[in-house]
Amino acid sequence: MLGEGILKGMAETARNFVGSYVSKDRLVTVQYPEERLPLKEATRQFPFLVYDGDDWQKGLRCVACQICEKECPPKCIYIEKSKDKKPDYIGKPQLYPATFDIDLSVCMSCQICVEVCPFDAIKMDTEYELSTDDRFGGLLSHKEQLAKSNGHYHQIHPTEAAEVDGHLAAEKTRLEAKAKAAGEAKARAKASPAALGPIR
């Protein structure tokens, strides 16, 4: 019959239209920004720098090794090393980034920086409303804006953050045990009865 295809199509459209008032499954759209879908745990948008403890300047995990700067495909990271050192989470003196800038307009959210970081210092945030009306300075994030607490990391990627904390703790215990053993060996070599504490 001529026009049968059109009638069939219109009937289906009508069925879905009416059905969307009855069944939630038929209503596939979400009224953003009033409604929002829950974020997936693996979601990645823009990197941030993780810090431990309360003071972001003291607790910043980044040691300014510049691996992420070199591996970043669109080269959106800019790092300047510090002149002095600060203790890292184990207590070992390390450099820290004097400047750490990420250009939001260049970053393509690929997560390569996160993968290559040997210190678990840079992670992906899930914040997606990053637009700004300041097109010159506003799109360049400095380390003040990039630094976010480990608690925030636990909030957005709980499974991953727990894993990271686990292996950082394991690494810390391993290094402490190693330092202790080294210290004991040293003490034995000196034949001194006074046991040295763990060398940090």
Partner: protein
């Protein structure tokens, strides 16, 4: 216009770009209308680059005799991003996210082809679980690519919006799976040399099984509405036929080649990954027209579903990446490698030459939609302008891949 004028004007097509665009323009367009047939003449139309039917920034220089196409030249390069040269300047790993942006519908198959080439180069072994994950993600990619293509094809035919939105509704379910696995809907950046980046999250397999189980219902519904639709049949049957010999000679691959009746599927020919373990058929067309190309995609989706349900049931546990694979300081030994896979659009290949440094010495992509596009003129000749839009739609191009 009389037939003599057409042949006279089209007899000697000027060399493309030889004398510059201005000179070409005057050679094609007769300055004065032919005598005795006032008001008629060949008309040169520039279709695109912002035409909605060109699926991106793509232009066709079409010479028309009335409504019929006399000559057609595809013009591309508007989306050129220097992908190959950038890849030669960055490390192997850093090129991986750029491959997502080639064919931005199928980032996971692009990842796989590139990973395959590097694995051949560096001699890495892929663990079994990673191979299964690759097959699952690649077939899901094929599903969402084909369903979108059909939606876009129908939109080109004038079914504005509705079929495309239904296709997008199904695609979104697959993209949700991709997002929960890789973190991004489209720019997945998931495969790594020697395996995959992260393991499947909890509950992912069940979610994927649900999607795969519900998909045939949608396909049946889609086919019920479209299979017998008289408008679809009238617009597609016998339009843009591509003969077998021409398709083979032009190097056309993928669903387009199979629609012309050539049994060539790299999943069967090359048996890369673990495709030898799955039982699936290669659907073949007969006439190679737009309808066959449309139908091949529907049938391919059904075969993909077969592979998927098998792979989702059989996936073993184990490691997902070769322990020899290095993330930082990756330097394959000098040599060359070509890795190719059956991407949803055809044969996608990556050719790499390594000189032992951290970045490839030569990096070349064999993009399927670019090579499939070269045959566009032969399919469009003597068809109406409205059919050109459909033929272009049935080629299934993505300009990110064509222009690179």
């Amino acid at each position: 216009m009389s037939a003599e004028t057409v042949t006279a004007a089209a007899a000697e097509p000027p060399a493309f770009g030889a004398a510059g665009p201005a000179a070409r323009h005057y050679e094609i367009l007769p300055k004065t209308p032919p005598a005795g047939d006032a008001g008629s003449g060949l008309l040169e139309v520039s279709m695109g680059p912002h035409h909605p039917s060109t699926h991106g920034v793509f232009r066709m220089d079409v010479v028309l005799d009335g409504e019929r196409v006399v000559k057609l030249k595809p013009v591309f390069g508007y989306l050129h991003r220097n992908h190959e040269k950038i890849a030669e300047g960055t490390t192997y790993l850093s090129s991986m996210p750029y491959t997502d942006r080639l064919d931005y519908f199928c980032s996971l198959t692009n990842n796989w082809a590139y990973a395959l080439a590097v694995e051949k180069l560096a001699g890495l072994e892929v663990p079994e679980r990673a191979e299964f994950i690759r097959v699952i993600t690649a077939e899901l990619t094929r599903l969402q690519n084909h369903v979108c293509l059909i939606g876009f094809l129908l939109q080109d035919m004038g079914a504005l919006g509705t079929p495309l939105m239904y296709a997008f509704r199904e695609r979104e379910k697959i993209l949700d799976l991709f997002e929960s696995l890789t973190g991004a809907r489209m720019m997945c950046n998931y495969m790594r040399f020697g395996g995959c980046r992260v393991d499947l999250p909890e509950g992912w397999l069940e979610a994927a099984k649900t999607v795969v189980e519900e998909y045939p219902r949608f396909l049946d519904e889609f086919e019920r509405f479209l299979g017998g639709n008289e408008i679809l049949l009238a617009r597609t049957q016998g339009v843009g036929a591509l003969p077998k010999e021409l398709a083979v000679n032009a190097g056309v691959t993928g669903p387009m080649l199979r629609a012309s009746g050539v049994n060539y599927d790299i999943r069967k020919v090359d048996l890369y990954g673990i495709y030898d373990r799955f039982d699936f058929k290669v659907p073949l067309g007969e006439r190679g027209d737009v309808f066959d190309r449309y139908m091949i995609r529907v049938l391919e989706m059904r075969e993909s579903l077969k592979i998927l349900s098998r792979a989702l049931a059989d996936i073993p546990s184990g490691p997902i990446i070769d322990p020899k694979a290095k993330l930082r300081g990756f330097r394959p030994k000098p040599g060359e490698a070509y890795g190719r896979i059956e991407a949803p659009k055809g044969e996608l290949g990556f050719y790499l030459i390594s000189d032992g440094s951290p970045n490839p010495y030569r990096y070349r992509v064999r993009p399927p939609s670019f090579i499939n596009l070269t045959i566009l003129e032969d399919m469009c000749l003597n068809h109406l302008v409205a059919d050109v839009v459909i033929i272009l739609g049935s080629v299934d191009i993505v300009l990110g891949e064509v222009d690179r």
